[in-house]
Amino acid sequence: MREQWTWRGAFIFAVVGSAVGLGNIWRFPYVAYDNGGGAFLIPYLVALLTAGIPLMMLEFSIGKKFRRSAPMAFARIKKKFEFVGWWPSLVAFVIICYYGAVMAWGIRFIFSSFTLAWGDNPVDYFLGDILRLTDGPGALGSLPWDIFLAFLVGWIIVYLIIYKGVKGIGKVVTITTPLPVIILIILAIRGITLPGAVEGLTFYLQPDFSAIFDPSVWLAAYGQVFFSLSLAMAILIAYSSYLPDDADVSNNVFISAFADAGIAFLAGLAVFSTLGYMAMVQDVAVTEVVASGVILAFAVFPQALSLLPGATVFAVLFFVLLVTFAIDSQFSLVESSVSSIMDKYNLKRSKAVAIVCIPAFLIGIIFVTGGGLYWLDIVDRFVNNFGLVVVGLLTCIVVGHIYGIEKVRDYINSTSEVKIGRWFDFCIKYLTPVVLIVILISSLIEDITVPYEGYPQWALIIGGWLMVIALPVVSYLLMKSPTRDVMEQEGVSLDE
């Protein structure tokens, strides 16, 4: 008997918790600011409605209809498409290897925030004192014991959650999903009431409508939506495979997608209002303090918080927010891989969890060494641009064109509160694939002509290109390995 979510809220919290992660804080606000400010909302909303939401519906329905995680679900469509389900599971595995390091930094910084340890040099503190960053990917440097300990603690927490299965995940996400949102609301309210906040918010919200005529802005919007919604990592397929037969699909997607986008929008208010305050205090232009990525999360924003009255409280809250946002993304990625091998090889959960977590932990140690940040940067770049995007494309082709998108739409409408129309067919069959192809080609051109971030070619080959090529190869090998899926063996068909 397959595990099931105990109530609808658990499923939605799990999906939202998976989708909402560090990218909502450190990526969306900056991408919006850099691509027309408030005007970015237009391409972003269009991308959400024409790509993000349809793809989520596709993944939810595949998982729920076939009652299997991605590899076995795709095998139900056609045996030879099983590798299309392994590819995103392996993408998820690659991500969990390095995401553990980011969680470790977050856990470590909770302790730093009690004393605002970064002082006046937050970048030096982060890169030097915490990461012990080396000169380049060729030098792994040391393995800082405090970061390793935080890394171990993070992994133990994730292991204990996944070990308990869907019921355990369901209980945990009722805390780890709403808690950081509440903290974010507190930070946003604190931020917008600060002097100087208006200047920061103006940069975030004031529209530059000329951006709408710039194709790169639309690419940025589609890219942001795609990366933000936990798509193409077999997570949503896995999570929805634990839904009961009569569960809704389309409205669950709307709730999850609007929650993810709404939280990103809120995060932008919190980030830019606080940066505006910081710029005022430091008597510089807002543009001089704007940052994104790890530097925003672990240097600039903490520094801004330390300027506030009651700084310690807000700093601790911020890092608790980061860690809880990261934890439910991390265990959703782990669950994606775990459920894939559980279903294929008919393994007990405890065994599958060990098979995934132990290697991921060991490989992940590379990313907490002194050279780890470089490798994280490389692997993250390539797995996103070439792993996720290709999987998204293949999913659209296999399900939209080969399996038949009308069957999917009919299935969704048979079980959903909100009926969807033929716009869904058009998005999956034509619009989304075209956008993904454009993103893929532009990424390929960019990364072939210019070494990413100037990293040495050998590092880009090992951490990037070889990893990307290994994904379909290993997927194929996994597909060829003997299946022990109970339903496969009994010849039970789940088709209409």
């Binding site: 408030g38 918010l201 929008f265 909100v418």
Partner: protein, 34 residues
């Protein structure tokens, strides 16, 4: 803050947060899988 920024704030808030609220309202009315 310029008027245009306020307008975009309300556009985002109404569509995203309003969309979320509306979807949740539909879900609350539905009895299945509670």
């Amino acid at each position: 803050m310029p008027v245009s920024a306020w307008i975009m704030f309300f556009v985002g808030a109404i569509i995203l947060w309003g969309g979320l609220a509306y979807s949740l309202r539909i879900a609350m009315k539905n009895k299945k899988f509670k």
